[in-house]
Every structure is written in C-alpha cells, then in structure tokens.
Symmetry: C2
Subunit: 499 residues, 2 copies
C-alpha cells in the first residue's frame, strides 16, 4: 500500500481526524456508561454523547467533506480511494434523508426503546406496536431514499453487510435451514445426550476472571492495547487501534457466561487490534462488516473455545481455578456438557446449532415488513408459527417471543442477518485455515498465535479495504457457502450426541 | 436565586453547553488516562484531548461569546451576571495573548515537562534551566498583557485565587512563618516524640480499600454520583455535578497514603457534588478557587481525619481491616504516630505543620522571578538557603530541592499560594463551624453529615458565585487570618508532643 499522500490527501486525512477525535471521545463515554459510570451522572453524559454524535454527523455531511469526495474520488492511492468510498457512502446515506425526517426518527427510536423495554417487561406487544409501525414506515422511506437494485430490503442490509443482498441470503438460508433442522432432529432423537447440569455449580467470580484472562492471553490479546472489565451486556469496543477493550459478565452459577463471553468479545477485539498500521487514522481503519466482525468472535468462541482440543489442553488449567465440585467431572463429559444443543426461545442464549434458525425467523419477518408483505400487527402470530416450524417450540408469551430483541425498537432493520453470516463465514475461514494449519495441533500447543496471525494476515489487517464477500472470496477462493458450517456441525455433534 | 431566564440568557446557556460538553468529554478522557487507559492507546488519546481543549478555547474566545458578554454584562439575573463575569475573564485572558505567542508557549511547556522529568531524574538543573527561563519570560509577558494594579505577580495569582494579591499574602505569610517555625522548634525540642515506625507494617491493599470506602461513606460522599479508583497520583475530578470521581493510591507499607489520600480527595469531591442544582449547566457551577478547593480537602483530611475524635470513633473499625500486627498498638500512640511532624525535603510528603513553609519558599521565589528580582540561575542556591532558614534542613541535591515539583515546568506560576491559603481557610472555617456544631460530638457519632451539610450550605452550594475572600468574609465574618491555623496547630501538637 502507498504511504505518500498528495497535499489534498493529507488535508483530507487531517480533516478526518476531527471525526475520529469525536468518535474516540464518544467511544470512551460509551464504554464508561456501560462499565463504570455512576447512575446519577448518566443524564448529562448522554447529552454530551448526543452532542458528539451531532458533530460527527455535521462533519460527515459537510460541504468540506463533499469537496474532498469530489476531488479525491479517483485518487491513485488505494487507501484514499477506499476511504473516500466509505465517506461518500456515509455522506449520501445522511444527505438523502430530509433533515426533519431524520430528527423525527431519532426522537421516535429514542422513545421507542424505552417503550419496548417496558412492553417486554409487561409482555404487552400492543403498546409497542404503534411505535414499531412507525419505525417500519421510516425504514421503508429511508430505503427508498437510499435506493436499491432488486429488493427494498437490500438498501437496509447494505448498512451492515455491504454487497450482501436478499438474493444472496435467499440462496443460502433455505438450504442452511433444512440442514440445521435435520441435524436438530438427530440431536433430539439422540439417546445419549450430555448432562447440562453437570457444570452448573457455584464458581467464584474472581476465579472465573483469572481463567478468562489466561485464555485472552493465549489468544494473543494485547493487554497493553486493551483491558477487561465487567458489564451487564458484554461487548468489545475499539476506542482507537491501540485501545480495544473487552467486557464480560460473571454468572457465578454458570461459568460459561464469562468464559465463552470473554473469548467471543476477545475475538472481536483481536480484529480491531489487528488493523494494518498503514490504515491508522483513516476511514478504512474499521471492520468491513458486522458479519465479518461476528465471524471473528464466533471463530474464537466456537471453533477454538468450544473445541475438544481446547479443553484437552486447558482442562487442567481450568480445574486450577474451578471449585472442588468440578474436580470429579470427566473431561469428555465436561466437553459434551458445554456443547449441549437445546432449542430455546431466546436468541442470545442459543447454541451454535440453533442460533442461525433464530436469525432466519427475524430475517424473514423483516424482509416481509419492509416489502410490505406482512404487517406489524401480525408479527406475534407469525413469530410463534416460525418458532414452531424451525425450532419445534412455541413461546408462551411475546416477551420470550417477538419482544425479546432490542434491535427493532432502535431501528436496526437489516442487522440480524449478519449474525448468521458470521457463522457461515467463520466455518469457511476455518476450512481455509486448515489448508496451512493443523488447528488441533496449534490449540494443543497452548500458543494460539498461529491462529491469530492467520486471521491478522487474511482478515484483520485489511480493515474495510475490501467488502465482506470480496474478502471471503480472496481468502477462501469461493463465495458464501453454508456447506462448511453444516459439515462442521455434523462432524462435531455426531460425536457429542452419538448419532 | 432566579430561575427564569430571558431568551438571550437561555441562548447563552445553550451556547455554553457546548463548552461544557467538550469539557466533560475531556474530563472523562483525563480520568481514564490516569486510571484505566492501556499504555499503547495513549498517544492517539492525547491528540483527541488536545482537539477537545482547542474546541473549548475556540468557543471561549469566539465572537459569539463576545456578543453574549456584551449583551448580558448587566443582566439582572445573579447567576447570569456571575457567569458572564467568569466568561469575560476567560475571554480576556485568552484574547490578550497574541495567538502565536500562546502557541509557542503551549509547545514550550509541553516539551519542558518532559525535560523537567528527566532533569529531576538526573539531578540536573542546568538542562532544565533554559526552559524555565523562557517560561518565566512568557509569564512576565502574560502578566503584562493581562494587567495588574500593584504587583506583576498579582496577574498570575488571579488565575488561581481571584481577589488575593501579593499585598494579601505579604500581610499573612511572615506572621504565619514565624509562628510555624516557633512551633516547629517546640516539636524538635520535645522529649516525648511519637514513634513513626509503629504504624508502618504491611497492610493488604484490599483491606485498605474497604476501610477507605467506609470512611468515604461516613463523610456522605454520594457513590451514586461518583466512584473510587486506583491511580499513581491521586486526584478528584468532577466530570459533571453528578459524576465526581475520587482516586487513591495504595502503599501496602504505609496505609496513610490511601486512607488520608482518600479522605483528602473525598473532601474535594464533596465540594463538586455539592453545587446548588440551580447552578448546574452554567459557568458558575465550579469551585471558586484552588485555595477554597484545598480548604475542603484539608478540612476533611486534617480537621476530621487526623483528629483524636475520629480515631476514638473509628479505631475499632480500622482494626477490623488492619492486619494482626496493628492489634496491639495503643490507640493514643497510634493517633500520635499518624500525626508525626518532621521537616522533610519533599512538599507532597509534608505534615500539616511544615507544609505551609514549603509553600512560602516557592511563593517568594516565584514572586522574585516574576518581578525580575531574582534569576533562574540562582534558584537552586536560594532554594537551599530558604529550606535551611525555614525548615532547618538542606537538600543534598536539586532533585529533592528545586526540581521536585512539576508546576513550574507546566507554567503554573501563581498556583502554589493556594495550598497554604487552603490551610488557613480550613482553620478559619473550622472555628466558624464550631459556633453551631460540637465537632467532637459529631465525629464521635460516626455520622459526619452535619459537617458535610454545613460545608454544603456555607461553601459548596455557591459554586463560583462569590470570590474566595468574599466567601470567607460571609462565612466567618472576617478576612484572611492565619491565627486560627496557628492556634489549631498549637493546641493539637501541644498534646501530641507534650511541650
């Protein structure tokens, strides 16, 4: 990549630094709000956060930005070219929405989030319904403003997974669904199921933390460029490429929350710690998509953290931190227990076999709503029907059903598919990685840096220089293909459930 | 105070909110840099901090600000009037300095700080000297730009202690010095000195933290509007009036560092948690001076935390957290030990009897430099001579002498006197408080809220609506008077040293 910039390019990067400064300050405030901030200080802090967001918006949609876009659109410098593409996309997205509509929408979603929270608590879809109807209407209008080729929903998908369309998803999801439900049948019919209660005994928080930190270390997470803190809803956040923080949650009755949560967020963090320094301080020093981001967290959580090899290597270490009650659990039974598959109502509690099914339900409903093929009022019924069809269970109430996710109340239509894409990308990356790495051997060695280095080279360092499907093509030699995920699940769970 | 604002006043407050937002973001970054930030992330974070400071500077010196100042200078609303005064002062201070000189000065001090750090490490005043000479020259010029009535140094003092002048200080410092050196003679001649080693045994950090938290609680520190964290150089910081954080440092060989440090910073924090809500979101929602701020921290640290009554009440609680080795220490001997007086070279390690003497040395040297009566090159010698005269000891090297403080390298001329003022203010406040409160009884009760409430009512709630000496006059009925501090020290140490 080129290092020398023209004067105009330097000016543009200098201008962009302002956006970055606001985003860094906002990022730290966001981290603090979710980890440390005392409750009374939140009200004013939130105003400050909005102010910073407004400043980013002003700069991103400014005439100065437009000028840089026009002047540098055809730059010979690849980093500048890709950066300008990013900025232009952002510029257009924002400028195409009339400002009064946007303001109204921001207010609506901000109210809707608290309405949703209460509705979920009270199992009361009807209170939330009018808000959701308005949010859907706004998203339909936004999609029209932004434009699309084939399907209106593509305009929303593009916000999270650029280049992925309804056509892409409709090609893979039905096949994936068939395969997953088949596998799930085998699981359900198994007569040798793991015992989930085996591992559910009290595990002190400080020992969970110590073990989690050791695993992060094995992964190659750089503690001089990040830290681990406690929170309610775990996340990773890159404040800058050298300050990428991980958070986790400790459940003393179920250590999996913290251990697999830390590995998951650690996977996200390695992505953001791994950008090529040449991209620092440019708009492409970012993840290329939510799906690729999720592929990184899932790769570490599932393909590494929930693997047989990982526990063969780390079970003794784990027992050093685990309380007495764990000492008599057979390693293989332990491994089977942490990999229990069980259809449940709640997406965020789902295992790796059923997770994508939860996503498909949401995808189909979103697509229907945005294309005006289904109506908000029918959502609860449709939700429950699909749960029955895909997972074989039906929630007893909307709180465990259509009301469970925050995404719609905040207007995040188009986001859900990224989660399922992350699983498929992850499995495809694993197969490619195996061409040059003996994964089991690496994991057994206790030094996971060859995995991290492979991901650094193939995924992380590129930032958002390549769109997700192009990146996938370059690394794996093919496009999106659900077969790898299915094959991985089949081989793994065949052994766990003895079918 | 008035609650209704004219439209112009509302616009001004709205405008001011931008400054506040930048300051809040910068405040959080500052807190994070000193408590949590991973080291590799610091470089970019520092740039972001400069950017935010620059934004504050731009707004504070903008034509829009000038317009509000001109329009609202004679507002009937007291809060607005005082706010405009604050803003005008800031505006003038900044605008009177030619921009190129200011830029040069910022660069100079930023370099000088690292030069100083190295010079102190290497005991090498000569390397630092040319930088300090330039900084003094700048401060002389700034003082001339800003203007003053009697003494050039007044212009600098005004940045930290508005209304206090060389005339004020020269009236009280000599008297205070005489009295302190007399007291110190008595201490030195005492044949019944406390044993300082009695309390210096290993004290685990987590137990120090637990005890410190309990003391903060007794003080009435609001943990829903703040938190306690660990740092290297303890500080308190008000990010907003409902998020005022305390930091402390744990020395496992000397619990006093954390316990008295926490009480000290807690005192600062109570000030910033105690502003009248009517002042929130205005420029007067701030401490009125560094000296009054210091009076609050010192009041709690010394008049409460190092008092006989406090340890009579809390010694059992202390022992619950202290290790076995403390269990046999007699309470009275303990009390005497924590109040040992001993002239030392280092200001920040000084006890309450010698502290002000350290300050006077610095004050006299600063005043001489700014009035061009002494030269930078003569500082080391003058320093050592004054140490001998005032404290009876002479540092063996400049690292323990003239090079020990960061202040001059960062251009903080005029700051030092505030520390000594804080001691005198604190003693004056104590005497006033005693008119309505039986301090010993309150402290014995374990519920310190009457003290906090008194300080809330008399000091905190006013923010910077009153200048420090006016505030003092209103609360105590008199001006600055060192007698109270002397009397307090005499009575307290008479008993400790049995003279």
């Amino acid at each position: 990549m080129e290092k020398s910039y023209t004067e105009m390019e330097q000016n543009f990067l200098q201008f962009y630094k302002q956006i970055e400064a606001y985003e860094e300050a906002a990022g730290l405030i966001g981290w603090d709000l979710r980890t440390k901030a005392p409750k009374k200080g939140v009200a004013q802090r939130t105003e400050t956060l909005s102010f910073l967001a407004q400043k980013v918006h002003e700069l991103s949609t400014s005439d100065e930005m437009k000028n840089y876009i026009d002047q540098l659109r055809n730059s010979d410098n690849k980093i500048i070219k890709a950066s300008i593409d990013e900025c232009e996309k952002e510029y257009n997205k924002s400028r195409k929405i009339p400002i009064n509509e946007f303001t109204e929408y921001v207010q609506l979603t901000s109210t809707a989030e608290s309405v949703w929270e209460e509705a979920r608590e009270n199992n009361d879809f009807e209170t939330f319904r009018p808000y959701l109807e308005k949010i859907v209407d706004f998203n339909i209008r936004f999609a029209e403003y932004w434009g699309y080729k084939d399907n209106r929903y593509d305009a929303l998908l593009d916000n999270y997974e650029p280049g992925v369309t309804v056509e892409t998803l409709d090609k893979v999801f039905p096949e994936l669904r068939n395969n997953l439900t088949n596998l799930l049948d085998k699981v359900n019919q198994s007569e040798d199921k793991p015992d989930p209660n085996l591992i559910l005994s009290h595990f002190p928080k400080d020992q969970q933390e110590k073990f989690s930190l050791k695993v992060l270390e094995q992964m190659g997470y750089d503690f001089d460029a990040g830290r681990l803190d406690e929170t309610v809803h775990p996340f990773a956040t890159g404040l800058n490429p050298n300050d990428v923080r991980v958070t986790t949650r400790y459940d003393e009755q179920d250590f999996r929350m913290a251990v697999f949560g830390t590995i998951h967020e650690g996977g996200h963090a390695l992505y953001e710690q791994g950008f090529d320094p040449e991209l620092y301080r440019t708009p492409v020093c970012n993840a290329t998509s939510m799906g690729i981001h999720e592929s990184q967290s899932l790769f570490w959580e599932n393909f590494v953290g929930r693997s047989k090899a990982f526990w063969d290597k780390n079970y003794d270490l784990f027992l050093e931190h685990a309380p007495e009650s764990f000492k008599n659990i057979d390693k293989n039974q332990f491994y089977r227990s942490i990999n229990e598959v069980k259809p449940g109502f709640i997406r965020i509690e789902a295992d790796e076999m059923t997770y994508a099914l939860h996503i498909m339900i949401r995808y189909e409903l979103e697509k229907g709503l945005i294309n005006q093929e289904i109506e908000v009022k029918d959502l609860p019924e449709l939700w429950n029907q699909k749960m029955k069809d895909y997972l074989g269970i039906e929630p007893k109430n909307d709180s465990d059903g259509v009301l469970q996710d925050v995404h719609w109340s905040s207007g995040g239509f188009g986001y859900f598919p990224s989660y399922a894409l992350g699983y498929m990308y992850g499995a495809q990356l694993e197969q490619s990685m195996r061409k040059t790495l003996d994964l089991e051997e690496v994991i057994h060695s206790g030094d996971l840096s060859p995995i991290k280095n492979w991901l650094n080279d193939n995924i992380h360092r590129h930032g958002s220089m390549k769109q997700p499907l192009n990146l996938l093509q370059d690394v794996t030699g093919e496009g999106l293909n659900p077969e790898y995920l299915v094959k991985y699940l089949d081989q793994k769970y065949n052994k766990i459930y003895n079918w």
